[in-house]
Amino acid sequence: MLRDVSSTMAEPKFAALVDSIVADAGRRDELLTLLREDHALYRGRSAATIVRMRGWVLLALERAGVSDAALAFLLEELDTGVDPYLVAAAARALRSYRRPNAALAPFVMGALANIRYRDEPVSFDAYGVYAVSATGSSAVRELLATLAWLGPHAASAVPELEALRAPGGLPAKLRGDVERALQSVLGAPDPHDVAGTVSCCGPQVPMAAGGHRSEDIDSVLLEDHAGDRISFNAFFRGQPSIVVFFYTRCDNPLKCSLSVAKLAQAQQLLDAQGVADRIRTAAVTYDPAYDLPARLRVYGLDRGVRMDAGNRLFRAVTGNQAVQDHFGLGVNYVGSLVNRHRIELHILDAQTRIAASFERLRWDEREVVARAVEVLKATNSIPRLPIRRGRS
């Protein structure tokens, strides 16, 4: 059972566990549990090991069939994945979704753009095997095959596909794959194919309000980009807040760096709507031991983030675990270093409860701001507490 697994489980044993879950139709939901970033199995593992493990679970989804709940994990990989093995596995697994859908096409095309210059040969022969020949598959090949599977549902991608087929597009050795995809996309729609809806593929849908408010969160001590310390309550209580999570050593430019840059955009939108002094923004690091104030400040400056009393970059000086619990963070560590995390943005209400979350997929700053403004309008009349600067 999954509760008996731990971070010391050897990789071959992990692969066998995944295979056993796939073989048992009654257990297939456990595959989604294995894709949670904070699962104990991933603690203390390198990022490369986690790629092998997650890739194997994604391939298992291909065999088991992809449910709506599983779709979010595949789309996440297509949206921001930069590892060819994971992107290839996600593209492959997507073809096991119950029905092709037009909403999936932008994700596949986006993944093509992300991965084409970092592509490499991949092997699905067995767990942990790396391709030492380029004759097999690759992330780009799998994505093109998925476009072919989408067929006429990917009609929106025709101009881009034609550009990829043209000289100067994808390399000549992939022209056959591009041609097959294009022919399939240009083919006549199946008259029996009823267009389904995929609720998670359109604009990011904020997850339901609620979340788990941890009592310990009140006593968490934060330190900001200027070295000033403040309790979690003192900063966040009294006004709604937009909170993103990041760390400065994230090597995926589509995750942390982009999230913080987009937070800067969100700040400007708040300003334009005249609510910048009524909705706070914060970027909190997953890596408080390393992301000291000087690093936070430079990171924010480089991405155009406004930093002042109501807008800060933080690290948790004490209570990092309470922060993780309160927000249900999707992150794990090898030693003190982050080894895997998801994109996550949370909107807190004035009582520091999580009112909305945007997870896994790149969020739209206009939607985030719109949601934050809704939370502001719904705020109870708790007096706005001034934030006091200075060390505590």
């Binding site: 390198s46 092998r52 093995y85 210059y117 490499e120 040969p121 942990g128 390393y290 030693g335 982050v338």
Partner: protein, 296 residues
């Protein structure tokens, strides 16, 4: 008319010399991949070939073949590898070649020649390749499987802070096979915030090798600058400590110090002493920078 004559003359001269850079590059590939040419000719030609390797699938495959051919002289294979690496920097042109390139590097990572292995693994680690990481870590855990000496493996693993080499590095610090490996292990651990107490201990241990203390100072500065600031002061006040360690401490204080430092009369006196007398000139300069910053 005069301009046209000049352009024609230049084109003719170019043709006589051997053609455009593109043509020269293709010619270089032909020389580099020809077994009839000497090793010296071939390695020189390989250095001229990256442009062709980028643009021509035929030339690219020819160069790959030389790299993979274990009967070829190692110097020629190394030159081919160098040429392929140079070509890979042209990301757009190299797109179609990348798959074969990565696959071949993974093969060469287990070559019989140690220098080829090291170069291939280094290139793969710069790509944060999981295959290379797995092999290097296996080698640290089981020396019978090691593709490189431990110090080299650690150095390459440090290219990716997300590689899980910290446990192996700690084991090597505790029981080093050689001093170089210990040094590389410490360098790698500089990315791990939990290693700060280790670096603090090493910095303060005057029986430690000075190079190790320098590594410790640098790591502590990155991980726990406030601790480095505290110890920097103590080191500077300690007349028995070494000049190079004092200079490193001074650099840290220059970066980290605040406006209260000039009020620390004892410290300023120590630094003043350090900036004169028998201190080597390069360290005196460090002292003067500090004194200049803090208004002395």
């Amino acid at each position: 008319m005069a301009t046209k004559r000049k352009a024609t003359k230049k084109a003719t001269q170019t043709r006589k010399r051997g053609g455009s850079p593109r043509t020269a590059s293709h010619r270089a590939v032909a020389v580099a991949t020809s077994p009839r040419r000497s090793v010296k000719e071939r390695t020189a030609a390989a250095a001229q070939s990256p442009l062709a390797v980028c643009e021509s699938e035929k030339d690219f495959q020819a160069m790959l073949k030389v790299l993979c051919d274990t009967t070829e002289p190692v110097k020629v294979r190394l030159a081919a590898l160098q040429s392929l690496q140079a070509a890979s920097f042209s990301v757009l042109s190299f797109e179609g070649c990348r798959g074969d390139y990565i696959a071949t590097l993974r093969q060469v990572a287990e070559d019989h020649d140690p220098e080829l292995r090291q170069r291939a693994l280094g290139m793969l680690m710069r790509e944060k390749d999981g295959f290379a990481q797995k092999k290097l870590l296996e080698g640290l855990r089981d020396p019978d499987k090691a593709l490189l000496p431990p110090e080299k493996a650690l150095q390459l693993l440090s290219y990716d802070v997300h590689a899980d080499a910290y446990e192996a590095a700690r084991a090597i610090v505790r029981k080093p096979p050689n001093e170089t490996a210990r040094r590389e292990a410490l360098r790698l651990l500089a990315a791990d915030a939990t290693a700060a107490p280790l670096f603090e201990r090493l910095l303060l241990d005057k029986n430690e090798l000075r190079e190790i203390r320098q590594i410790a100072a640098s790591a502590l500065y990155a991980l726990r600058p406030e601790r480095m600031q505290k110890h920097a002061r103590d080191i500077l006040m300690d007349r028995s400590d070494y000049d190079d360690i004092k200079a490193t401490s001074l650099t840290a204080l220059t970066q980290l110090g605040d406006e209260t430092l000039p009020q620390d009369a004892a410290l300023m006196k120590s630094v003043g002493r350090f900036s004169t007398g028998k201190t080597p000139p390069k360290y005196k300069q460090t002292a003067r920078r500090f004194l200049s910053k803090y208004g002395q």
